[in-house]
Symmetry: C2
Subunit: 337 residues, 2 copies
């Protein structure tokens, strides 16, 4: 049975039947022309939308439907985390190929609802349409934050330290491994990397804590990789950065994968996207505020460099003979291909 065998109403009912009870602030949920919600008291609304498209962001040959749903929501939760916001409500907009099996549809929506639940997000509405081509999962997520806790990209100043959460390169190597091995047996050492590609975890808790104790001066999420993130904070804040290549936290399995293929692990980890870690800057005088973020945020924090007045992005490497060299941080401009 495929989605073409059901009516839109039946497909919506398959989603509704899986939803937990609606929270008290949701006045009108799925099934009307729009959703209606009470705003949170003394909070601002934070809103983001992101879509994942078959053939661009995922390949159904090796990305299971559970991962499609999970990723589609996670990328949005990651955007809210980068703003220091607490996620609250999601709208799901799908373009479905008629041949999509109902089981896959159910697996996609169930994984969205499961991840939503984990982050205290309620699915409040959406839209279903057919697609004559790829499967498109477009999700809007709203959240809330106090005005003073909002994290933007433009507060970095010369002298501020640059940090990332977690480890990098995992998703990029996981994707490469999946794409090259999906008909064979995958090396078990890559399992954590593959899992990170398929089921990224948004750093909701870290983002919230960084916003609440006002530790970070700028923040964004690494959907398009560290190099891209550095360029974006740099441009938005009007600062340069010096990054120490030796400190960039690379996922161990990813490092091995890249080295085995003769690729530079640092450059690969910097250019690879989909890790959904947070990149943020901290005024050194507020460094002590990171203690609670480290303790309760659920991810290690690593200092990888610092901001400087000179508007350049430089990567410093230590050579085997003890000398250091500096090179420009790659990337920062890519065609919309």
């Amino acid at each position: 049975m495929t989605v073409a065998d059901l009516s839109e109403r039946e497909l919506v009912a398959r989603i509704s039947s899986r939803l937990p009870p609606a929270p008290s602030w949701l006045v009108v949920g799925i099934g009307d022309d729009a959703a209606v919600a009470e705003p949170a008291r003394n909070r601002l609304d934070v809103l983001t939308v992101d879509s994942i498209v078959e053939g661009i962001h995922f390949d159904r040959r090796f990305v299971p439907p559970e991962a499609i749903g999970h990723r589609a929501l996670a990328v949005n939760l990651s955007d809210l985390a980068a703003m220091g916001a607490e996620p609250r409500l999601a709208l799901l907009s799908f373009a479905l190929p008629p041949a999509l099996p109902c089981n896959d549809f159910d697996a996609i929506t169930s994984s969205i609802i499961r991840l939503a639940d984990k982050h205290h997000v309620h699915v409040a509405g959406g839209n279903l349409t057919r697609s004559p081509g790829p499967l498109v999962v477009d999700i809007t997520v709203t959240g809330t934050a106090k005005r003073r806790n909002i994290l933007t990209r433009h507060g970095a100043r010369p002298g501020h330290d640059v940090y990332v959460t977690g480890t990098l390169g995992a998703a990029a190597s996981g994707l490469q491994a999946l794409a090259s091995y999906h008909n064979g047996t995958l090396p078990t050492t890559l399992e954590p990397c593959i899992r990170r590609y398929l089921y990224p975890e948004a750093r909701t808790r870290c983002g919230l804590l960084l916003g609440r104790n006002r530790a970070a001066s700028a923040c964004l999420d690494l959907s398009d990789g560290l190099a891209d993130g550095l360029h974006r904070i740099s441009e938005a804040s009007g600062v340069g950065m010096l990054i120490d290549a030796g400190t960039v936290p690379i996922e161990p399995g990813a490092r091995d994968w890249f080295m085995d293929r003769g690729l530079d692990p640092v450059l690969q980890a910097m250019s690879g996207g989909d890790d959904y870690e947070l990149l943020f800057t901290v005024d050194p005088r507020r460094r002590s505020r990171l203690v609670s973020v480290t303790r309760h945020g659920g991810a290690p924090l690593t200092r990888i460099g610092s901001c400087m007045a000179e508007k350049e992005l430089r990567l410093r490497r230590r050579l085997d003979d003890g000398r250091t060299i500096e090179e420009p941080v790659p990337g920062g401009f890519s065609h919309f291909r």
Copy 2:
């Protein structure tokens, strides 16, 4: 030049440069991980998302880019109108085929911004991605309404009158005419119908007035046609309806178009979608409240029937010999094809 020749940042800049100054309630607009807005005082948030997909909702051979953008926003504004909400903010999520000319991209976004401006909506963010297939324009719109002014689908009661705004059948005949004549010359009598298909007008003002003076007991917008709308209010409210075929307001050019082709104008107008008129029910004791809606709503209101306790949808027709017959309202269940 196509969108593939530009970076995502350059494409975003082409949108930003066309935006009017941001309203004071917008704390963070385009260019960060998410948008941030102050909630409106003493109002609820109303949120909707809708997408239009090339090959399903429009054919680029005869739908110009200006109409694609206009329609993509209008369908969302129509959803908010049906809730009695005042639109406020939009997020644009596009999946763009790389071969899309930049001029078309600009025309789509300009028409969105133009219509947004007309309805006092600000474009606050969004997402751009590539599409390996069709052009997809997915828009999320939020609005606000007082709790007591929200219009839902479930307040219709037996004895309430059934109304529609404007005229029906226009968009359906306009689309048929465009599809069959797009290589030739179109009859000028169909111009209003074609215009209604390409550039639908959301009944924002009508919806707001119906909500503010609490005239309507239930309301929805006719994105999928009158027959579908009747079924939905009927199901949500648990009432039946008796519709008088002779009163259904059909656009004159559409009536001629259907009759010339041997089609029943009433059934065509009832099943044809895309008119984006409002369907609503009114307690007859509140009928006088419609005076101000008629005066200031910008669209005629027509009573087409009434609600009844018996849960059936019947269409009453007057035959030439003076007798009346009743038949079931068609539709109400369609496969997701």
